[in-house]
């Protein structure tokens, strides 16, 4: 079983450097998700692992053996492409068995393998069809089946669900999670969708601008983001950011800004006090704000409702706090009207502080 290691991986297109030294380690059977906005270099990284892009500098190790000079076919990996990349002139069975046929496996083995894999992804009755006669979800399954049939030690996924509609995407995501549990191989998954990343990953690697911003388990990244980018990228609805200044008073440390004056809990206060700059950005997730009309003002945000989006049991409210916009979630039973001012209790444990200049977490 390979343990994959990227060492100072650099990619240049001409004079433009798009990846600036990626260092990454993946343990056995780990499901790694590379996530980030478009253009962050996550797909390039994946394609370099696959061997579809040249490595400008650095090295990729599998089981401590360098592989960056190898052709894709010699790297023992299978890949699912964003646009499926099914061979349109072959039927489903031929698509699934293409790699096996190239490897000149015995016919009986190929047939049984195709049958097994097709049953796994629920394609048994479509084996004779051409890809053109399949729906989007079915094509996606064929692409996964093709990767599964190859029996590689590593699976690469390049935004495999981004072409599906929302409902199908949820369904396929669950199937993918099931598959990864069953197959127990190294999986590297690229997506721009943070929900996919959070739900599937053993380890999330957040990338931005050709750098790794942070890596760790979904929980670590969600609870302790190292900077404002990671904090804003993960979580739905996204984290609210408010600009404020740290003030030390006799009864504690406060963050004061336009429309709020919050007291920090002691642990955060110590970190804030020792920081050189007093200008900070305050980050609060919508889930850490609770509607509570009776809470003390120093533990609360006073929010003016601008827009209410009804999404069922919860409504997402877009509110104004001073000059900043804040999103909160509210039980739909609470009657709201526009322009109304509501008091929300802040879970002070969930408050994040970032330096306003460097955007690094305090």
């Amino acid at each position: 079983m390979p343990k994959i290691r990227l060492e100072n991986l650099i990619k240049r297109y001409g004079n433009v450097e798009v990846l600036h030294g990626i260092d990454l380690e993946m343990a056995d059977n780990e499901f790694t998700v590379l996530v980030g906005p478009s253009g962050c270099g996550k797909s390039t990284t994946l394609r370099m692992i696959a061997g579809l892009e040249d490595v400008s500098e650095g090295e990729i190790y599998v089981d401590e053996k360098p592989i960056s000079h190898l052709e894709p076919k010699d790297r023992d990996l299978a890949m699912v492409f964003q646009d499926y990349a099914l061979y349109p002139h072959m039927n489903v069975a031929q698509n699934i068995s293409f790699a096996l046929r190239l490897a000149k496996r015995p016919k009986s083995e190929i047939e049984s393998k195709v049958r097994d894999v097709a049953a796994t992804v629920g394609l048994t009755e479509f084996l004779d069809r051409k890809p053109g006669a399949l729906s989007g979800g079915q094509r996606q399954r064929v692409a996964m089946a093709r990767a599964l049939a190859k029996d590689s030690s590593m699976f690469l996924f390049d935004e495999p669900l981004s072409n599906l509609d929302a409902k199908l995407r949820g369904q396929m995501r669950a199937e993918l999670a099931l598959m990864s549990q069953r197959v127990q191989k190294n999986m590297i998954y690229v997506t721009h969708d943070q929900i996919e990343a959070m739900t599937l990953a053993d380890r999330i690697v957040v990338m931005h601008g050709g750098y790794i911003q942070q890596q760790g388990t979904p929980k670590e990244l969600f609870q302790r983001p190292v900077n404002k980018f990671v904090a804003g990228f993960l979580g739905m609805p996204p984290m609210n950011f408010l600009e404020g200044v740290i003030e030390e008073r006799s009864n504690g440390v406060y963050v004061k800004g336009d429309g709020f004056d919050l007291r920090l809990e002691p642990e955060k206060a110590a970190g804030a006090k020792s920081h050189s700059s007093k200008e900070v950005t305050l980050g609060i997730r919508p889930s850490d704000l609770k509607y509570d009309p009776d809470v003390a003002a120093e533990d609360a945000l006073q929010l003016d409702i601008m827009v209410s989006e009804y999404i069922g049991a919860q409504s997402v409210l877009l509110c104004q706090c001073g000059s900043a916009k804040v999103m909160v979630e509210l039980n739909s039973d609470v009657p709201v009207s526009f322009g109304q001012s509501l008091t929300f209790a802040v879970n002070t444990n969930g408050v994040h502080l970032f330096d306003r200049q460097s955007e690094v977490a305090l």
Binding site: L52, F81, L86, Y87, P88, P131, R139
Partner: protein
């Protein structure tokens, strides 16, 4: 609304009829005249009232018939031989053109090398040169250059095998004609196939590479099946030109390698034009390209890449 108007407009039908007559008329005339005696053809009267005869066909095909027609004293036409020459030349030059063309087109589309755009443009520029311009230089080259000495090893062996005199040159051989047809058709075929190869999604080739295909397997197992419609179109085009070509074949062929178009013209002499035989041979000449086109056009299925990739 506009559509029903055009359909009812008599002028529309008039234009259509004229176009149909222009297209089919000559073929029809050739067909009818091929069953007439020369006397009937030249008299010009009563175009459709005549006693049909297969004498012209008998005369045209005299060297392949199993019996000797009464009206043919001496079989001067070697239609069978010319037909086989035409087939060999047209088929081999078509196959060669496609094989070289698809590889060249693939390289021009997918590989990055210096001067790629220049090569791509200049292939089409070569196509602009009229074949007549090529005639004299090629005739000279084929007759006097690239010859194998008749006393040399290979040249001597060839002379021993097929007989004949003088050095072994390209002029008068099938290879000589095939070579010039390939050169003539290649630029256009490359040009056509380039546009088909561009449409093959790159991710398909990448998927094949990950699946374990080498460069040649990617080309033959993935790219080539997908550009079949383009290959078919190019094949029809190339075969038709090679089959019909007259000018170069007339100069570069000899008695044993002449093609059907050359044979037809041999029926014209300063004393007599045998219209009936010309028409009959013309009809026979038209059959292979029709069969070839019917066969090849079945490969032209639109939307070959449907379902390959999303969107």
């Amino acid at each position: 609304m506009a559509q029903s108007n055009t359909r009812q407009n008599p002028a529309f039908y008039a234009v259509i009829s004229v176009l149909v007559i222009m297209a089919i008329g000559p073929v029809l005339l050739m067909f009818v005249n091929s069953f007439k005696l020369d006397v009937d053809i030249i008299s010009g009267s009563s175009g459709l009232v005549f006693l049909p005869t297969i004498q012209n066909y008998e005369k045209a095909l005299c060297d392949v018939l199993w019996y000797q027609p009464d009206h043919v004293d001496f079989c001067s036409l070697k239609f069978g031989g010319a037909f086989i020459n035409s087939l060999i030349i047209a088929l081999i030059s078509t196959i060669l053109t496609l094989v070289i063309g698809c590889m060249a087109a693939y390289a021009l589309v997918r590989f990055r090398f210096m001067g790629r755009d220049t090569v791509s443009m200049s292939t089409l520029m070569v196509r602009m040169v009229p074949p007549a311009v090529l005639l004299v230089p090629v005739f000279g080259l084929w007759n006097n250059e690239f010859c194998l000495d008749k006393d040399g090893l290979i040249g001597g062996a060839i002379r021993e095998m097929v007989g004949g005199r003088g050095d072994v040159c390209l002029a008068g051989t099938h290879s000589g004609i095939i070579l010039i047809y390939v050169a003539m058709n290649l630029p256009f075929v490359i040009w056509i196939l380039q546009s088909f190869i561009v449409q093959v999604p790159r991710s398909l080739e990448e998927a094949a590479r990950v699946d374990g295909a080498g460069p040649f397997q990617v080309f033959f197992k993935v790219v080539l099946p997908l550009i079949k419609p383009g290959l078919a179109a190019a094949a029809i085009f190339t075969f038709r030109i090679a089959w019909n070509e007259y000018l170069l074949a007339s100069a570069l062929s000899d008695r044993d390698t002449k093609t059907v178009p050359i044979l037809i013209v041999n029926n014209m002499s300063e004393f007599n034009v045998e219209w009936g035989v010309i028409m009959a041979t013309g009809m026979l000449l038209a059959i292979p390209p029709i069969i070839f086109t019917l066969f090849a056009s079945r490969q032209i299925i639109t939307g070959m890449t449907a379902g390959a990739v999303k969107g």
